[in-house]
Symmetry: C2
């Protein structure tokens, strides 16, 4: 009789659960559950309007995935639930929420439900950039040793900037929060009854380095009350794939899994995907191409890479130095284009052909010669996470003519994200961190034109992971380790990880043409992002000034 | 019994005729005829594909307007055609075609019909920019005295650059052309049997200054055969509103007008509109807001304004120095947006409300605070005519975020054209040419949001002309002078010109906020247009290299 593990992945718009064979990682069943409230950006459900840059989630939507997708996946697998030996989960990060000491989210208290700062702030909540600027300036001034571990700049997306934003804009909410916790850790507590902190999020998003958070006097210099954050984020730090506890009887009741099985430590989605992609050995970079892009890699040594958003010991896999970098908007930019800029005639033509509009655009754009559209874009519609680490930046599109066609803009946006990825890979290599192999995973690997462009722009073979739910598979691999089925993630990854579906090799002529376009991308990148002009910041300031504060 | 004149306006997409009372300019009837082939940009009808930047027209489409719209306007007026005493016509310019000595367009010869260079090149045919660069460089090197009259740079849109393009790319067509003639002059010849050259087009588009074209040795230095252009463009030069001849019996047959009536000299659409707007006195600027924008003004003295595309003695009104400047893309950019980037949901909502999509966009954008969208655009989708005079430039849009909405991009495009207009007005004033009054005419004056933005951005009252067909009215005024009903255009304009429909005054708070945005526009303008970066030129070069030559 087989043994199984369940992996749960809480994404940006939906969650999914998979049931996986412990022996070989084969997926036996899966289920997806879309969040009822999706991403809350314009106004709280039944509540006030939100300023630009906000992105919240409803904690109940995450719980709903555990309640519905987990039992549905077990049913789909057709297995006996008693054969499940462990459960693991990952979530987006830094997606962080304030709770009471008992774990109740402040957003679920009737008296705070209409207060935007009581809600979980999604990773792409970008309105704490001013706080991030101050954190960076102070850390640089004081020579804080941890700053270089984050490439010289911490992000507005992370725990500290978001906490400072709450404290400054709604101090009552800050004071009501006994805990300031990552969504993955909060959900693990729901499963096993014990709050733990996963070392990945604590390190990459909580500025916890060598076991310590930033010092109280540093925090006090930002705001006199900010040292009060420290007791809200303390707790046992667990390495990746550690056993956080046993599934409680109550949680067993609503998940349908056996009480007492191992619950793995919380994890970050892209990080567990490295295990699913068998990319945990040093030098193997994983690119998770989705709403945003995460670039994950392990190394044997610690290099501080300028502009790369983190190196954390044991942050991806226990015993290695984990590196993370990323692009804050990728699939999100494509979705924006389809939603806000695709003309009706194209929507109608796609419907006529019975294909998704993305496929229509790809088919029209695929045969264009490189540079034939005359366009160049900066992929900053959701700010820039690497290497500029600045969420007050915004997207740029140059080269428009009266002849410019929709598929040409579409292709320029695909290319811009490829140029963004190359910028990050080059930053690693310039800092002495070799990238020996590159594997792509995530929803955007369905787009073959995108993969071809990435291989051409990055000038290296691009392997593509063959997994329908790679993050959930990674969470399941971590569950297998937590359950004691494997001694460590490396071993479990080798046994259970997915294979390559295909490999894209760069075309020399296209790659050479893209070298020229990439040089212009870097020119625009540095002009708009590194002080050639501050126009994007001034535009952002005016935009915020014309909207009310929450 | 009254006396009437007929004015005919040949626009970019359609032509129109009006029947106007000689006494007071009241319109008695009108008719519009859309060109069968519109603007030919992608391939010749039934013929080969065209490279980027091309824009041609079918000469038969222009003749069709005379054949159908003129009799239709007379019928609509319900007048006795024998009461018509004169006819005048204007056309876009520089819209120029090669013909045989007898006036037959080369494009109508069966053996040349499939040769793109045999066709009339519309004003916005922009692929002769390389030729224009060489003309400018050589004229500067030789210190040609006429160069400063064109602000220091001649345009790729004009007669010489287009002729050199034909000579270099299809010399056989160049050699077959006995005449190289403006569309307006070619049509006047059809009416009165005599080819004449209107001084406006000869001066503003043909580089004819103080009675002379550029010298043969200058032309020879560009191409050994180019001096052969001179006999193709010679002929009697007629001042505005001069009598070119009498309507022939043959033309009377197909227009329905009386043989022998006065036919006025050909004219440029925006220039005759100054008469319709009673803007012929010095310091009164007329802005014709349409597909493109023309800014027209008379002065008593000659100032050479850097970047402004021309000053010609008697070029607008006999006895004055005429100034012309303009923006090569205005309504064209808005049309591009609606056609290529307006999402289906907006098209559906406009249909549901029973309104044009432009009105829906305006209504959604109207209440935004200035700068609230966080966007800034450069209005160069069709290149830049003033003050950079460079058709290898292209449009730029910065400040895009995942929250950017269609009506925000729409408004940023409206604003960009207003900033472009301010750039030109400031160039006039910086050169000592005072702009005392500003009147808007043209199709875009139907857009009230646009008018409000222009008044705010330009920081001056904006009068709006009350005329349905202002250029055709202007052509009719010129016809009245040619027929001897008035001694000159000033007098005719005062009697027959249209009144102001309304005046928009700037709002001080919005105007101040636009000052800030305009400073950023100028920053982007100079970076992309004045050598801060040559990215737009490189993108344009790559775009052309990837398309075949004609």
């Amino acid at each position: 009789m087989g043994r199984y593990v369940v992996g749960v992945d809480l994404g940006t718009l939906s969650g999914r659960a998979v049931v996986v064979d412990v022996a070989d990682g084969a997926e036996r069943g899966s289920a997806v559950h879309a969040y009822r409230h999706g991403v809350v950006t314009e106004r709280l459900p039944g509540g006030p309007a939100l300023p630009p840059g906000w992105a919240l989630q409803d904690p109940a939507d995450h719980v709903e995935v555990l309640r519905t997708a987990v039992p549905a996946a077990v049913r789909a697998a057709g297995i006996d639930p008693t054969q499940v030996v462990g459960v693991g989960l990952d979530a987006t990060s830094c997606t962080v929420l304030p709770t009471r000491a008992d774990g109740t989210p402040l957003a679920e208290l009737p008296e705070l439900r209409d207060r935007p700062h009581a809600w979980p702030k999604l990773w792409k909540h970008h309105s704490a950039q001013r706080q991030a600027h101050r954190i960076n300036a102070l850390a640089a001034e004081r020579g804080e040793p941890w700053l270089a571990r984050y490439g010289g700049r911490v992000s507005a997306e992370w725990q500290l900037a978001k906490a400072l934003e709450v404290l400054e804009e709604d101090p009552e909410v800050f004071r009501h929060a006994d805990r300031w916790v990552e969504t993955a850790d909060w959900l693990v507590r729901l499963l096993c009854g014990r709050e733990t902190r996963n070392a990945s999020a604590a390190g990459f998003k909580g500025l916890c380095q060598d076991g310590s958070s930033p010092a109280p006097d540093f925090l006090a210099a930002l705001h006199p009350e900010l040292p009060d954050l420290l007791p809200k984020v303390d707790g046992p730090l667990l390495p990746p794939a550690a056993r956080a506890g046993a599934l409680t009887a109550e949680a067993a009741g609503w998940t349908g899994l056996p009480a007492g099985i191992a619950v793995a430590a919380g994890a970050i989605d892209a990080h567990v995907t490295a295990a699913a992609a068998r990319s945990v050995a040093p030098g193997r970079m994983l690119a998770v191409l989705g709403t945003s892009t995460c670039l994950i890699m392990n190394g044997d040594t610690c290099h501080e890479v300028p502009g790369v958003c983190g190196v954390v010991e044991g942050g991806v896999t226990a015993g290695r130095w984990g590196y993370e970098a990323g692009q804050s908007g990728v699939g999100d930019i494509f979705a924006w284009y389809v939603d806000r800029a695709l003309p009706a005639s194209y929507a109608a033509e796609a419907a006529r052909r019975g294909m998704p509009v993305q496929d229509l655009l790809d088919s029209l754009a695929a045969d264009q010669p490189v540079g034939g559209h005359g366009l160049l874009a900066l992929d900053w519609h959701s700010g820039n996470r690497s290497v500029l680490m600045d969420h007050e930046l915004s997207g740029v599109l140059v080269g428009l003519t009266l002849a410019t066609r929709p598929e040409e803009i579409w292709r320029a946006l695909l290319e811009a994200t490829a140029f963004g990825a190359r910028t990050v890979v080059e930053a690693f290599e310039a800092a002495g961190v070799a990238v020996d192999e590159l594997t792509a995973a995530g929803g955007l690997t369905a787009n073959r034109l995108l993969l071809r462009i990435y291989a051409d722009v990055l000038r290296r073979p691009l392997h593509v992971l063959d997994a329908a739910h790679p993050a959930a598979l990674g969470a399941a691999i971590h569950a297998a380790v937590a359950a004691g089925a494997y001694p460590d993630v490396e071993t479990a990854s080798a046994a259970m990880g997915a294979k390559h579906r295909e490999t894209w090799h760069p075309d020399p002529a296209r790659a050479a043409a893209y070298d020229d376009l990439y040089a212009d991308y870097r020119n625009l990148h540095d002009h708009f992002g590194r002080g050639g002009t501050n126009i994007l910041h001034r535009l952002n300031t005016r935009r915020h000034q014309s909207h009310p504060s929450p």
